[in-house]
């Protein structure tokens, strides 16, 4: 079986499992699955920015936050969730585009800290602008939407709503990666100077990578607000940005399925390992450090390495991390 076919079979099995699973779970389990779907969307966005276009961003949580607050503020005032989707996507596109400008000047760790600063800035605005966001008190009573007469009030219904959006986002991302844009993103990651000499407009694609990745963060946020029904600024602080970054890296950055797997590790595993309580994060951190030392391309890179070792040569994406010196 070729690598692509193996991946497709596993993906199909996961889709079936994702559809059947909620009927066997308690409400809390369904909530976790929904959270997994929502976080996967944000991680897919970051994977586009980081994994495919090679631009590190520690601000993805800010876009989840912008999306969530847009949804919370609009829907608690009686607007439909669809309006929140449109506004959040437009907002995130514009802000993400602007966030791309520093990336034209600096790379790698500088960019990491610039985006980190931006994330802190967004957090401060969410916390301090009480007239808009109600500050540390948060916004509660966020309603779940009714889609074309289908009420998503129940946990299973809302889960399928999230899963549906995830499917749409996945399909769109799949298409982007295979379009000339996806190729341009990867050229940007592998060798920006060469890409530019071959006529790729690196400036436009860098900004675009940030903007599209941010839009997906916003979509994730619009779903997050009605999922948890109560949001406050701390949920979108640096912790979530780090977490999303680790999801992408642990799953395998630059792999299409990486974010799905990374989100499983990051959202579902902590709950299964609940007995270990605080130890979980410690173990997770150690795991990430070991992974980086031996398999910087993440779990999927590890799996690919194992398949290769079994004697089946398979062409995989080049590592996004081998680009040597910085800025």
């Amino acid at each position: 079986m070729t690598r692509a076919r193996t991946a497709r079979v596993i993906a199909a099995a996961v889709v079936v499992a994702a559809i059947v699973a909620p009927f066997t779970l308690k409400p809390y389990g369904i909530y976790l699955l929904s959270l997994w779907a929502v976080m996967t969307i944000a991680a897919i966005g970051l994977n586009l920015t980081l994994g495919y276009a090679g631009q590190i961003s520690l601000a993805q949580a800010s876009f989840v936050g912008i999306g969530a607050y847009t949804a919370a503020i609009l829907t608690t005032q009686g607007w439909p969730l669809a309006a929140a989707f449109v506004l959040a996507m437009a907002l995130c596109f514009a802000i993400g585009w602007l966030l791309g400008y520093p990336a034209l000047r600096v790379q790698h760790h500088y960019l990491a800290f610039v985006t980190l600063s931006f994330a802190t800035l967004v957090f401060l605005v969410l916390r301090n602008e009480e007239w808009l966001t109600k500050g540390v008190y948060g916004i509660s009573g966020i309603p779940r939407p009714t889609v074309l007469g289908w009420s998503t009030q129940g946990p299973v219904d809302f889960y399928f709503f999230c899963l549906g959006v995830l499917a749409l986002v996945s399909a769109a991302t799949w298409w982007i990666i295979r379009s000339p844009w996806g190729r341009a993103f990867m050229a940007l990651r592998e060798n920006p100077i060469r890409a530019s000499s071959l006529g790729v407009d690196t400036r436009r694609y860098t900004l675009m990578a940030f903007a599209i990745g941010s839009v997906l963060g916003g979509i994730s946020g619009v779903l997050y607000a009605p999922l948890v029904q109560f949001i406050e600024p701390n949920a979108f602080a640096l912790g979530l940005s780090f977490n999303l970054l680790l999801m992408v890296i642990v799953g395998g950055s630059g792999y299409f399925y990486g974010p799905f797997l990374g989100a499983v590790v990051s959202v579902l595993l902590p709950e299964w390992l609940r007995f270990s309580e605080g130890l979980y994060l410690i173990l997770y951190a150690v795991f990430v450090m070991i992974l980086m030392a031996y398999f910087p391309s993440g779990l999927l890179g590890l799996a690919e390495g194992l398949i290769k070792r079994a004697g089946k040569p398979a062409p995989g994406p080049a590592l996004p991390t081998r680009d040597g010196d910085a800025s």
């Binding site: 590190i56 400008y101 520093p102 000047r105 600096v106 790698h108 760790h109 500088y110 990491a112 800290f113 610039v114 980190l116 600063s117 931006f118 802190t120 800035l121 401060l124 301090n128 640096l238 780090f242 970054l245 680790l246 890296i249 605080g278 130890l279 994060l281 410690i282 997770y284 951190a285 150690v286 990430v288 450090m289 980086m292 030392a293 031996y294 910087p296 996004p320 991390t321 081998r322 680009d323 040597g324 010196d325 910085a326």
Partner: protein, 292 residues
Amino acid sequence: MADILQLLVAGLATGGIYALVAIGFVLLWQTSQTINFAQGEFVMVPAFFVLAAMKLGGLSFPVAMLLGFLVTVVVLGLLFKRLLVDPIIRHGVLPLVISSIALAIFLKESVKEFYAADAQPFPAAWATTNLTVGGAVVAVQNLVIIAVAVVAVAALQYFLAGTRTGRRMQATAQNPGLARILGIPVERMILYTFLINAGLVALASFLVSPIYLAKFSNGETLGLVAFIAAIIGGFNQVRGAIVGGLLLGVIDNFVAAYLSAQYRGAIPLFLLIAVILFRPQGLVGRVEERTV
């Protein structure tokens, strides 16, 4: 006038601590392209080594402080390099960034899980009284912080510029390949910078903990501000880190007093973005140059 003097002293004290932490950042970057996202946690941890030595080992405060300093140099200097940086640096900068983020989580959660989740009082090695100078009330501990930071920076500058080992370290930073050909033990020079970094963060930890108390989450903002200080000043020079650190400390105190206490945390970020957009080499930095 008295107000301004008061704020200036407080700002220089805060800035002195930022500068100590930022210098360590710059040193690691210069000699080994190591970006340490756990630098803030590195400042948080030594205070807990001291507290643990006092509580579990029953040591007196000065002995515990000495022990804490040594343990910091070994754990956050030697072991950090050997166990984390050495195996990962060959993969490039990004995996190291990720790893040091994981290390930050590891340190923070370990302290929270195994020592305490709430803020711990940390004894001060100096008087905590105030002096009145020409109408301005100045805390003695701020003066002590400024004095210690000045002495530490002066000693470091002397070491780097005035001693044989220091100059070998500079050579390593400027051109590791050539330094190796000239017979300089590059690996050992890099190790020295890690040890110096550990010493600086330990110092910063002992200075800052009596004021802010020792808490597992202390490193979050400190690491970010120290890095911003390094960029604003100029990432490729130690004096850039000093300028950036002092500037941020002073601005921070004035903004909190005269503009907005809520958004004092945002000022360094605006400065950072402005510097990156308009003067990426930093205020006193030079383009494409590497030296310690």
